[in-house]
């Protein structure tokens, strides 16, 4: 930048001076201007408008519009005419970033007027200023280079058509990375085997082996190249070549021809999930029009895409682009269908996977490689779709060029065929003065979190105070607010391990179990029928039995994997075997399989019911394969009108929506189990689901637990695990999941780890670096307390017991078994009605009706009166200070600060008769402040 700006100012100065005197123009200035602004498009490689601007003769010869310079009438030179056109004019030069500055125009005018002086033998060459600037910057950085890599790490070239882009990737000592492909010295020892075409390799021999060597900053990287049948051509294939163009160009998107009814009379399958159908629609509908075998260029398919005829989707690519060439070639060859043996894509890879860019404007080329069922691979970077989940941090171009912007982290998604894959980009400020802070590392959680924060150059907040900690763990671990005596005792405790001891004490309390029973009851949708009408199945009794079953399992600390297996493979009556009520919460088998995937694996596979998932790996075959496990659920009535028997009906199949064929049971992301007729498919599925063979289960449960304590999941939302929504800290999630498995799914042990970690113990006070951070656990998130806990807290601090249906007076809202049982307060504050499995059922967003209910409703005011807390303290002859302190401890879990204390005591001093009222008002005010209903 610096160089560029100084150059400009020089030019401006020159221009200014030229106005005064016709001093001879310095050719170097003209050269610099032409080389940076013009030659890029007018060189032997790229002769726009048939004009070359390399030698003086080229200018005089001119291009399509005649000579560029007319020495006879310099002012009428095409060059000058073009650069003087208004900005909006079609012919203005340069077309990008034009027109030139006035000084620049003046410079060229003077130069032409002075006879376009040209030192002998000088040939102009294009110059990229940005590149030069990067190069200069790189030179400063190069001494700290630590690692040099070539991506992909090996190349396999098959057929004449095959090519692979080379990406050279440097990692520096400060963990930042750079794309140095353009700056490294690339060599091929044997150019008779393979050669470069730009930065892409292609075969030049039939067979052979060589390697590509990259060198920069004293480091060298090598990647082997293997060429097979390198001279043979390969026919363009409909599935392998043509269909990817449809996807890349967006033809088969939902908003275009991929819509269920197509667009403008032409339909393609959404995201190309049905190549057979697409082939038929292209070749058998409107014969001779969509595809014109006689004059391939006049096929609608060609004309529409290149913008030759009007197209609602506009021009998609150039006529001379590789995309158009592919389709044209396919049509020219007779628009043939592929043989049944055509190789299918088996997976895709993305390179590089971890990128750390410094400052805004840094770039990195991404390369995507697809592997095929015949063992070959191809560079599909130009055919893949790219997306960034965080454009303000790192945007990605259609061609896979990543460009950094703000500080932060982003995930890049590449999609090709039915596969999606991501790479992670971290952007840190340029020239950041950063030294890894000495942060507490209490256990493996901190190792992962701190490493991540270091990579992001974020300094975490300090640890919270004892006051904050005791309140936080009480709310998080047992769902109740600490009583004043607990707080004071904890603060007074001087033992070093007191925080861990506190958690130990809480983990054995029944409230801990109740909290998790409630959370699981939400996920398992424990609820009776329509509220107020309990003749509607599922019946209240069944909901209660189901809840009690769950409560007993969790109470006995049965590992969650065992509970899940028992739950999902249960058969019997809804009264005699309560676990089967799970199957009564959703009778639709498709929705049921979606629910199971969402609750137990955190995945939303709904999309794949009708089309392959656009942002995830799930195909319709995966969907119906998973659904097949639920295809044989039998239900029958019993003598008891409230009871239904769920059993293995041993019959029934899952039918693919598109092919109408029965799909065999297949684990989601796993194998097809070997099933015999009559086997209980649910049992087989349940055993896989909760086993180590299923990579998603443990991670999902660990993430659910983590999200409860930190307010944000490592994958967030917790039930939206997908390729395009990867974990913010994969190492952390892996570590949590691994520990959970090692602990035999003992939630208590994981809770112990989490509450002991520095990540959990951090203060919610932010510093400069972590103020914006929400997902990397650099600070504590301020969270609104959930409805049940808040209502219990109000009941506790005001000493007014609650009464809920079916529970004794004084029972806690957390203990309500049935999702359909609620009250105004709970509904307002977002208690889950358990009507769906979505994590969004529980709402913790603050809203106006909540505030109004606390202020004006009976939730607070009446309870303060009814509970007579202040009155009792006054009767116990406590001083104002004692009362205020106790109220603060009760409500905020902390002692009042001086100002707060003073405000109250002074008011009482002014109006001693109104002492009770003032103190009750204080109580009310405290309960209406955010500090009360937020966990911080």
């Amino acid at each position: 930048m610096l160089r560029f700006r100084s150059l400009l100012s020089v030019l401006l100065l020159v221009g200014a001076s030229s106005l005064h005197a016709e001093a001879p123009v310095a050719f170097d200035q003209v050269r610099a201007l032409l080389e940076t602004k013009c030659v890029e498009c007018h060189n032997p490689e790229k002769v726009k408008g048939k004009l070359l601007m390399v030698t003086r003769a080229d200018f005089l010869k001119g291009g399509e519009a005649g000579p560029a310079i007319d020495l006879a009438a310099p002012d009428k030179s095409e060059l000058l005419r073009r650069i003087n056109l208004p900005k909006a004019h079609d012919d203005v030069m340069p077309p990008k970033n034009g027109p030139l500055a006035a000084a620049e125009i003046a410079l060229l005018r003077n130069w032409v007027a002075q006879g376009a002086v040209w030192p002998a033998g000088v040939k102009l060459a294009p110059r990229d200023l940005a590149k030069e600037s990067v190069l200069a910057d790189l030179k400063l950085k190069l001494p700290t280079i630590e690692k040099l890599e070539i991506f992909p790490d090996k190349f396999s070239l098959e057929t004449k058509r095959d090519f692979h882009r080379v990406v050279v990737f440097a990692t520096f000592k400060d963990a930042t990375t750079r794309d140095v492909t353009a700056y490294a010295t690339l060599t091929l020892p044997d150019k008779k085997v393979a050669d470069f075409d730009g930065y892409s390799l292609h075969a030049v021999a039939e067979e052979g082996k060589t390697e590509v060597i990259a060198a920069i900053g004293g480091l060298t990287a090598r990647a082997p190249i293997e060429v097979k049948v390198g001279l043979k051509d390969r026919a363009v294939s409909f599935r392998q070549d043509v269909m990817p163009v449809f996807m890349r160009a967006g033809c088969n998107q939902g908003g275009c021809h991929g819509a269920a009814r197509g667009k403008d009379g032409f339909r393609l399958s959404l995201f190309g999930m049905d190549p057979d159908g697409d082939y038929i629609r292209l070749t058998r509908e409107m014969v001779g029009r969509r595809i014109n075998l006689a004059i391939p260029e006049e096929s609608t398919l060609i004309e529409k895409c290149v913008g030759k005829v009007p197209h609602s989707g506009n021009k998609l690519y150039e006529a001379d682009s590789a995309y158009n060439k592919t389709i044209l070639e396919w049509i020219t060859n007779g628009a043939k269908d592929d043989p049944a043996t055509i190789a299918k894509v088996t997976g895709i890879d993305i390179y590089p996977k971890q990128i750390v860019l410094e400052g805004p404007g840094a770039t990195q080329q991404i390369s995507v490689r697809a592997t095929y069922s015949d063992g070959t691979d191809r560079d599909v970077t130009s055919l893949a779709l790219f997306m960034s989940n965080n454009d303000p941090v790192a945007a990605i171009s259609k061609d896979g060029l990543v460009k950094s912007a703000d500080r932060g982290a982003a995930f890049l998604l590449a999609r090709f065929s039915v596969f999606s894959i991501t790479a992670q980009v971290i952007v840190i400020p340029k020239g950041l003065v950063y030294q890894r802070p000495k942060t507490e590392e209490f256990n493996y959680i901190d190792t992962a979190v701190n490493e991540r924060l270091h990579r992001l150059r974020i300094t975490p907040s300090m640890l919270c105070t004892d006051e904050e900690y005791v309140r936080r763990v009480f709310i998080d671990v047992v769902g109740i607010y600490p009583k004043p005596e607990k707080i004071t005792a904890f603060i007074a405790d001087k033992s070093p391990g007191k925080r861990a001891q506190l958690v130990e004490g809480l983990l054995v309390r029944k409230e801990f179990t109740e909290l998790w029973v409630m959370k699981w009851a939400e996920l398992l949708q424990i609820r009776s029928g329509i509220a107020g009408n309990n003749n509607q199945p599922p019946f209240y009794k069944n909901a209660l039995l189901y809840y009690n079953w769950l409560a007993e399992k969790i109470g006995k600390n049965v590992p969650i994997d065992k509970i899940v297996v028992e739950l999902l493979s249960a058969s019997g009556g809804t009264v005699s075997v309560p676990a089967v009520n799970y199957y009564q919460s959703e009778l639709d088998k498709l929705k049921l399989s979606e629910n199971v995937a969402q609750v137990f694996m955190g995945m939303r596979i709904q999309c794949a019911q009708c089309h392959n998932h656009p942002f995830d790996r799930w195909t319709m075959s995966d969907y119906y394969g998973f659904n097949a496990f639920f295809a044989q659920i039998g239900r029958k009535q019993t003598d008891d009108p409230q009871e239904v028997v769920i059993y293995n009906s041993k019959g029934g199949e899952s039918q693919h929506f598109l092919t109408k064929l029965n799909v065999k049971p297949k684990f989601l992301g796993g194998e097809e189990p070997d099933l015999k007729p009559g086997d209980d498919r649910r049992k087989v599925m349940a055993e896989w689901l909760a086993s180590r063979r299923n990579p998603f289960f443990a991670r999902n449960i660990a993430n659910l637990i983590w999200a409860h304590f930190l307010g944000v999941g490592v994958v967030n939302p917790v039930d939206d695990v997908r390729v395009s929504n990867p974990p913010s800290n994969p190492e952390l999630l892996d570590a949590l999941a691994q520990h959970l498995v090692d602990y035999d799914y003992d939630v208590r042990r994981l809770v112990r780890d989490i509450t002991a970690s520095a990540a959990y113990q951090r203060s919610s006070k932010v510093n400069e670096t972590n103020a914006d951070d929400k997902v990397n656990f650099a600070r504590s998130q301020v969270r609104r307390v959930r409805a049940e806990v808040l209502l219990d807290a109000i009941s506790q601090v005001t000493e007014t017991p609650n009464k809920f249906q079916g529970l004794p007076v004084g029972a806690r809202a957390v203990q309500i078994a049935d999702g359909a049982v609620s009250n105004y307060f709970l509904s307002t504050f977002g208690r889950s009605s358990r009507e769906s499995v979505a994590s969004t059922e529980v709402k913790t967003d603050p809203n106006l009706s909540q505030a109004l209910h606390l202020m004006n409703g009976d939730a607070v005011n009446d309870r303060i009166r009814r509970g007579k807390v202040v009155q009792t303290m006054i009767e116990a002859r406590k001083t104002d200070e004692q009362i205020v302190t106790e109220l603060f401890l009760r409500v905020f879990g902390r002692a009042p600060i001086d100002n707060e204390m003073k405000a109250v005591t002074q008011s009482i001093a002014k109006d001693p008769a109104g002492r009770l009222i003032i103190l009750e008002d204080t109580f009310w005010a405290l309960m209406n402040s955010k500090e009360f209903y937020f966990n911080h």
């Binding site: 209240y540 209660l544 005699s576 019993t638 008891d640 009108p641």
Partner: protein, 808 residues
């Protein structure tokens, strides 16, 4: 106020002081056998209480302490040999009989629940071998405390739902002093929502028994009887059936301790028979046990494969008994069957208290499945039931298994495969929706009658039968004494009480005796009735073979069918006139029910004699195939005159059905133009000559037509109606017309309906009609003849004429 009105008011309570008493409950709900019990009956219209009607022996109302309209206090004497369990009881007042309720006989004395007993601290002390009478209010939990010795068995059983106060679903538990639930029971197969469980004390000291509603609900009518004792509480009995009157070795399958016992079965067949242990402390309720004449086949393990199947001794019918004793167990039997046999196969499992959900398959000797049944229903939904038609003589394999592949020592079953046995049963239909007990009794008013409709169910039984009722209360006699032909589907069963009959009662098994001395099958009542029912859901049902009879006070009205003087002919109509005689002051409307109509005759089911009126008419319609015979008709009145329903039936009244005198086919479509006259003609057939002149009327056309009735005699050959239309006559087709002919018979007329399905059509007037063309013709000679007997044009001729119309 007039004197008459005053008199009516004074008389009213005397006339209708109570009828059809409403029996809503008792307090307590049961008592100990061999004791006298203070019992309060609750209901309405009880002021004239007379007695209780039990369906089993052993109960006697010793004294009545108080009677009010809503409650009766009495002392009930329960004999020491009174049957245990729930007993059917009705209230009889001077004027009626109530719906039945249950009364529970327990081996233990009653103890009343005392609130507060809602937590451990306030648990009510009780002792073993007591029955606690309590109630679960909303969210109520009742605790009881008892002191036992280590090793002592604590058994508890609750009657909640069974008491019939509505759907009450109790939950019971035995809890130790550390507050751990050591045993609990919510629902059981044997007693549905009512539970039982047992526990052996682990220490000397206190144990607690807890009762609540399973969802912490309850109500002021959620009554329970909680039995606490050391009794054995079998889930089921194996085998669960035996021959009446035989001695049999059975095993009582008890979760705690099963035991064998030799039992002597009663001689009488009783579909509700319950078996109790005689060697152990018996449970407060028995186990259902099938009394049947089949030879028991008991499974011999191992019989888990067709090869090791237990072979039954060849017979016509089989009773296969076994236990699916472990998960996945499959039991096989081999039976010999004969081609063409139709076997009614029922697997009794849940019906006898077994948790088994049986799946029964019948396989040929080659292993091919003939039939497989999971839930065929019967008394319990999950039990199997199917009909098997045997395709060929030979050996067949029967496979029994659990639908969910469960098993256990109490998974007892009894598969009865019964080749069609001749039988004759009768039962009354449900007279009211969702209330099978409505009017299922015979409360016969003094000097009056009461009647039930009985539907017959014959299985391989034909021939004539006659009702027989022995042991009726004094003064009551059976009126349905005629022989009942073997092809009659139903008949009214009527009884009459003499005017001076003493008020009294009896529970009587009415039978049907064959007229043929060689016939062996006796007809029995098989009345299915609901014991506990909530809307459409029936929780408990019973089968009764006895009817409750009572002589009640004279009804305030009587009915009579006006004697018929003419027959009801085939395809004919008869207006049956019913007259009411009201006692002075009785003015209320009377609902009159046509209790029964013979085959081929239809009628509205009921009519009302309006307030103050004394007559109603039932129109009887006979079809063409009604048998010619003298039938006995009866109607019964029901009146709700402000104090319960009072029944009184008319005496039988004979009405003869006879062949028709005349007949005529339907008049084919006759079309005419609006404003033009037309003629409808059909041949007239005289089947039986009749005297005098009959009137024939075309029925079914609107008043806008003018069709004059015509006179016919036995010599008439055709029916010819002249239809006159004008410009107001609606255009269109009128179908379903018929001709009603009143044939004089004696002093009356036998009404016939002939030419049923005749059709008349009125077309819009033609434009340019040829009225003029017809006019000159009228002046000619031939016109006279035409006028006398107008030519009837067929539809084809009409069309032809229309086409020939000059197109001027």
């Amino acid at each position: 106020m007039s004197f008459r009105l005053l008199l009516a008011l004074l008389l009213a309570p005397a006339v209708m002081q109570a009828a059809y008493p409403d029996f809503s409950g008792t307090k307590p709900n049961g008592g100990q056998r061999g004791s006298d019990l203070k019992l309060t009956l609750q209901g309405t219209r009880l002021a004239d209480f007379e007695d209780l009607m039990f369906f089993s022996p052993g109960f006697k109302v010793k004294s009545v302490e108080a009677r009010t309209s809503s409650a009766v206090e009495l002392t009930l004497s329960i004999a020491s040999d009174a049957p245990l369990g729930n007993q059917l009881v009705r209230i009889r007042t001077k004027s009626g009989i109530s719906h039945p309720r249950q009364f529970f006989v327990s081996p233990f004395p009653n103890v009343a629940e005392k609130e507060p007993n809602n937590d451990f601290a306030s648990a009510q002390p009780i002792e073993l071998n007591q029955t606690i009478e309590g109630v679960i209010q909303n969210e109520d939990v009742d605790y009881f405390k008892l002191t036992v010795k280590k090793g002592q068995r604590i058994s508890i059983e609750i009657d909640g739902l069974r008491l019939g106060y509505g759907v009450f679903d109790p939950y019971i538990a035995i809890i130790d002093k550390a507050k751990f639930e050591k045993a609990f029971s919510d629902d059981t197969i044997l007693h549905r929502q009512d539970g039982y469980c047992s526990f052996t004390a682990e220490y000397d000291g206190e144990y607690y028994v807890m009762v609540r509603e399973s969802s912490y609900r309850g109500s002021s009518r959620a009554f329970y009887r909680l039995h606490v004792g050391s009794f054995s509480r079998p889930d089921a009995v194996y085998p669960a059936g035996g021959r009446p009157g035989s001695k049999l070795q059975v095993r009582f399958v008890d979760a705690k301790e099963s035991f064998a016992e030799e039992v002597t079965l009663p001689k009488d067949n009783n579909p509700d028979f319950q078996l109790y242990s005689r060697t152990r402390d018996s449970a407060p309720s028995g186990n259902p046990f099938r009394l049947s004449n089949l030879e028991n086949t008991l499974e011999v393990e191992p019989n888990d494969t067709p090869e090791t199947a237990t072979v039954a001794v060849p017979a016509d019918s089989y009773a296969l008994n076994g236990i699916i004793d472990k998960p996945g167990d499959v039991d096989y039997f081999k039976v010999q069957l004969k081609k063409g046999q139709v076997l009614d196969c029922r697997c009794y499992a849940q019906a006898i208290g077994s948790p088994l959900d049986p799946v029964v398959s019948v396989l040929t000797s080659k292993g091919r499945s003939l039939i497989s049944n999971d839930d065929g229903g019967g008394l319990r939904r999950l039990d199997s039931r199917f009909k098997l038609t045997v395709p060929a003589d030979g050996e067949y394999t029967i496979k029994v298994t659990d639908h969910l592949e469960r098993g256990g020592p109490n998974f007892v079953y009894r598969l009865e495969m019964i080749a069609a046995l001749p039988s004759l049963t009768f039962a009354s239909p449900e007279y009211s929706v969702n209330d099978s007990n409505y009017r299922q009794f015979l409360a016969v008013p003094r000097g009056g009658r009461m009647v039930l409709l009985e539907n017959f169910s014959r299985n391989g039984v034909s021939g004539e039968y006659r009702f027989d009722a022995q042991g009726l209360p004094a003064g009551i006699k059976l009126l349905t004494t005629d022989a009942i032909p073997g092809d009659l589907g139903n008949t009214p069963l009527m009884f009459e009480a003499a005017a001076d009959a003493p008020l009294g009662q009896a529970v009587v098994a009415v039978t049907m005796q064959p007229l043929d001395p060689k016939a062996t099958v006796i007809g029995e009542q098989r009345q299915l009735y609901d014991i506990v029912r909530d809307g459409n859901t029936i929780y408990y049902q019973g089968i009764e073979n006895k009817l409750p009879f009572a002589v009640v006070e004279e009804a305030p009205y009587s009915l009579e069918i006006v004697k018929a003087t003419v027959p009801l002919v085939q395809n004919g109509v008869f207006n049956l006139h019913v007259t009411a005689k009201r006692k002075e002051g009785f003015k209320a409307p009377i609902r009159v029910m046509m209790v029964w109509t013979p085959p081929g005759i239809s009628s509205l089911g009921e009519q009302t004699i309006a307030e103050g009126s004394n007559e109603c008419v039932f129109q009887l319609d006979a079809n063409s195939a009604v048998p010619t015979k003298a039938w006995k008709f009866v109607v019964m009145g029901e009146t709700d005159a402000g104090a319960g329903r009072v029944y009184n039936a008319s005496p039988f009244s004979e009405l003869t059905t006879d062949l028709a005198f005349v007949g005529a086919p339907a008049i084919p479509l006759t079309a005419m133009e609006q404003g033009q006259p037309g003629t409808m003609v059909t041949p007239f057939e005289v089947i039986r000559p009749f005297e005098g002149e009959a009137t024939a009327t075309l029925v079914g056309v609107p008043d806008t037509f003018s069709i004059a009735p015509i006179k016919v005699t036995k010599d008439t050959k055709e029916l010819r109606f002249t239809v006159v239309t004008d410009d107001k006559t609606p255009i269109g087709k009128k179908d379903n017309l018929f001709v009603q002919i009143e044939i004089p018979v004696g002093k009356g007329f036998a009404t016939h309906r002939v030419a049923i399905g005749s059709i008349l059509r009125v077309d819009a007037p033609r434009k340019n009609a040829v009225v003029k063309a017809a006019a000159p013709a009228a002046g000619k000679d031939t016109a006279k003849a035409t006028a006398a007997t107008p030519v009837v044009l067929s539809r084809l001729e009409q069309l032809r004429q229309k086409n020939e119309t000059p197109k001027n």
